[in-house]
């Protein structure tokens, strides 16, 4: 009840300020800009056992961003289009961002679809380095939200209301292996024994962010779907990710100590609902990252990367069902040539420390062709043979080995 009142108040404040701002802004002209990228890529997968999937394909991705500003009003529309010519069902288009923001002295008011990075452990980058968009094949997209943010120097406090649970961007009807062809729409457990697809809810987040000397930290409180924890239900032909609502709090730290970058994150999660005998237990997630840079005589840079993520607080068998990275170590080496083309290599090795014979290897190369064009080449290999009826940990990606080449053209 209290949350409904708070929501109404937030909407009222937003509407009032929108009208006020529009009146104030009449004298001020709009300033606009358009930018984006066209990113065709070719992927060659290791052939799988299914005749229904396309193993080798070209993918055309276009990102279009429109921004407008007038007085204190800011508007952003970020659209993405994706299509695979060999696969008629693959076309997707969606708004990654679509928001309006009003800036008023120390306060920002935002309404629309916007990114919500509530945790470094969020699905799209559980490891900052290996870029889990590649591992999970998911797009980073915004969430529906109303946000009120207070700003001081080197600190911010945000209240974010998330009124609608949206599905993950699985391309469920696609035959190309860009999405999981065998994974169906997400289902959400927001009441005991009830499943929902897209649904309205009263989720919220509170965030406090501050920079101190040599250290940045964030405190987080979140009530909403736990997209990091997905259980899979099999419906006979495909898997349904079943997403539970969580109440979480935690801290996220980034620091420059002894000449190196150190990262740390801790989250405490609890759950209220159950479905079909599944009742996720409260537990904690901890992540640690270390980056040691070394500048070479050639002007290039070598960065040694170590990251570790673990979940604990309940039985490890249960945690294995939830997390791909329930106890995983990542070792990486990033080599930047320091040349005019911004050439960079990344070699990464991921090892599950508690599950037998599960590991992954990554290789990426990026360079600039000219001031508007970039190419990226890469590969991924996962070794994790399925041991039980349901795939756990890295088994979910077993066999999804590929090499790819991407050509990026920026229009800005």
């Amino acid at each position: 009840m209290a949350s409904k009142k708070a929501i109404r108040l937030l909407i009222f404040i937003n509407l009032f300020l929108a009208i006020y701002s529009a009146a104030e802004a009449k004298k001020s002209p709009w300033k606009t800009k358009v930018e984006g990228s066209f990113e065709p890529q070719a992927r060659i997968y290791e052939k799988d056992s299914s005749d229904d999937t396309i193993d080798n394909y070209a993918d055309f991705y276009t990102n279009f961003i429109f921004k407008a500003k007038r007085y204190r009003d800011y508007f952003t529309l970020n659209l993405a289009f994706r299509s695979v010519p060999q696969d008629d069902e693959s076309s997707q288009y969606y708004a990654k961002e679509a928001w309006w923001m009003l800036k008023n002295k120390n306060f920002d008011y935002l309404a629309g679809v916007n990114y919500f990075n509530w945790s470094a452990l969020e699905l799209f980058h559980p490891f900052n380095i290996i870029n889990a968009t590649e591992l999970f094949e998911q797009e980073q997209i915004g969430e529906n939200m109303l946000m009120l943010r207070w700003k001081g120097f080197e600190k911010t406090a945000s209240f974010i209301f998330l009124p609608k649970i949206t599905e993950n961007m699985y391309n469920t009807s696609s035959k190309s292996r860009l999405g999981y062809s065998y994974i169906s729409d997400s289902l959400f457990v927001k009441d005991d024994e009830e499943l929902y697809t897209n649904t309205f809810s009263t989720n919220f987040a509170l965030e406090w962010k501050q920079s101190l000397d040599s250290l940045d930290y964030r405190l987080l409180l979140y009530s909403g779907p736990d997209r990091q924890l997905e259980l899979f239900g099999f419906n006979g032909t495909s898997y349904n990710p079943i997403v539970f609502l969580t109440n979480s709090f935690g801290v996220n730290v980034q620091s420059n100590w002894f000449g190196s970058i150190w990262k740390f994150e801790y989250l405490n999660k609890s759950y209220q609902h159950s479905y079909s005998g599944i009742e996720p237990k409260s537990h904690q997630v901890l992540a640690f990252g270390y980056e040691f840079p070394s500048v070479l005589d050639s002007g290039g840079e070598l960065n040694y990367l170590i990251e570790f993520q673990t979940a604990f607080g309940t039985e490890s068998e249960e945690l294995e069902q939830y997390y791909t990275f329930q106890n995983d170590l990542f070792l990486g080496l990033r080599y930047s040539l320091g040349d005019m083309k911004g050439t960079e290599y990344l070699i990464g090795y991921l090892k599950d420390m508690s599950r037998d014979a599960e590991s992954a290897f990554f290789l990426e190369y990026t360079t600039r062709i000219n001031s508007k064009t970039q190419i990226e080449l890469g590969s991924r290999f996962v070794w994790a043979k399925q041991k039980d009826a349901f795939p756990l940990g890295l088994e979910r990606q077993d066999g999804d080995n590929y090499i790819y080449g991407k050509w990026v053209y920026y229009f800005r």
């Binding site: 600190k155 970058i261 500048v295 508007k372």
Partner: protein
């Protein structure tokens, strides 16, 4: 006898007086550096539009475009932010520096593609700034307290009178064993800096100028040309617009808001 006494007395007075005002080369160089710092202060805020031309050993050229904002702080190092406008793949990338008098600067890099703000480690400061011959260290603050100074002599560079001084960075992660600064007597700024690597060999030479009086009695270079004598690579930083005395909000230099609004 009286003559001898007065001679002894005046010799003693002279020698005591001289030693009171005499400076060691280290003190003299530091005093000049502080005087230069004082002469360059009082600009309040600075905004610039710059291009950076990178030239490799074969003579191939590529261009970077960026803007720079600086906010002067009274008793601390300045706040500054560089935003890249070109090439297209790095457009929107921001480098924020909170400079300090003695301790190492805090630096952050905002990566728009990931919408993430990353701290730059102290060790990385000797790394190349956007593939140029400038390092993050060169682009950071040059507070006198961050060096050990030594005065060499007064010489001429391009027919101008300059103080030739040696300075050794005190930062443990510096890539230089020393720098030789040729500081112009009138501009109160360097005309040339020679950078020596850890082995003590000449690494880079930076030339500053032409200088322009931009605000009150404050001069600033409109171009810096740096050449790596070991790799033969060069970089030219040229100001298209440079304004001092500008009113700039402190909130622009806030590391928690680097994502900004996209404008």
């Amino acid at each position: 006898m009286r003559l001898i006494q007065s001679l002894i007395a005046s010799t003693l007075i002279f020698s005591f007086g001289f030693s009171a005002i005499a400076e060691t080369p280290e003190e003299k160089a530091f005093r000049i550096a502080k005087e230069n710092e004082k002469a360059n202060s009082g600009f309040k805020g600075e905004l610039s539009a710059m291009i950076m031309v990178l030239i490799n050993a074969h003579g191939d050229k590529t261009t970077r475009k960026m803007t720079n904002y600086v906010l002067e702080r009274a008793n601390e190092g300045d706040l500054s932010i560089n935003e890249f406008l070109w090439p297209a793949d790095v457009k929107g990338t921001k480098l924020l520096t909170h400079a300090f008098k003695e301790k190492s600067d805090d630096q952050w890099l905002y990566l728009p593609a990931l919408k993430k703000t990353k701290r730059i480690s102290s060790r990385n400061k000797s790394g190349s700034f956007m593939g140029s011959e400038f390092s993050y260290e060169d682009m950071g603050s040059q507070e006198p307290e961050k060096f050990k100074w030594k005065y060499i002599q007064q010489v001429k560079v391009n027919k101008r009178d300059v103080h030739k001084m040696e300075r050794v960075p005190t930062d443990e992660y510096t890539s230089y064993s020393k720098q030789v600064v040729y500081s112009d007597l009138k501009y109160k700024n360097p005309l040339k800096i020679e950078y020596f690597d850890k082995k003590g060999e000449l690494l880079k030479v930076a030339k500053f100028g032409p200088y322009k009086k931009l605000y009150k009695e404050i001069y600033r270079p409109m171009k810096i040309h740096i050449k790596n004598v070991q790799t033969k690579k060069e970089s030219i930083l040229q100001w298209k617009k440079r304004k001092l005395g500008a009113k700039i909000s402190k909130s622009k230099f806030d590391s928690t808001k680097l994502a900004g609004d996209g404008f």
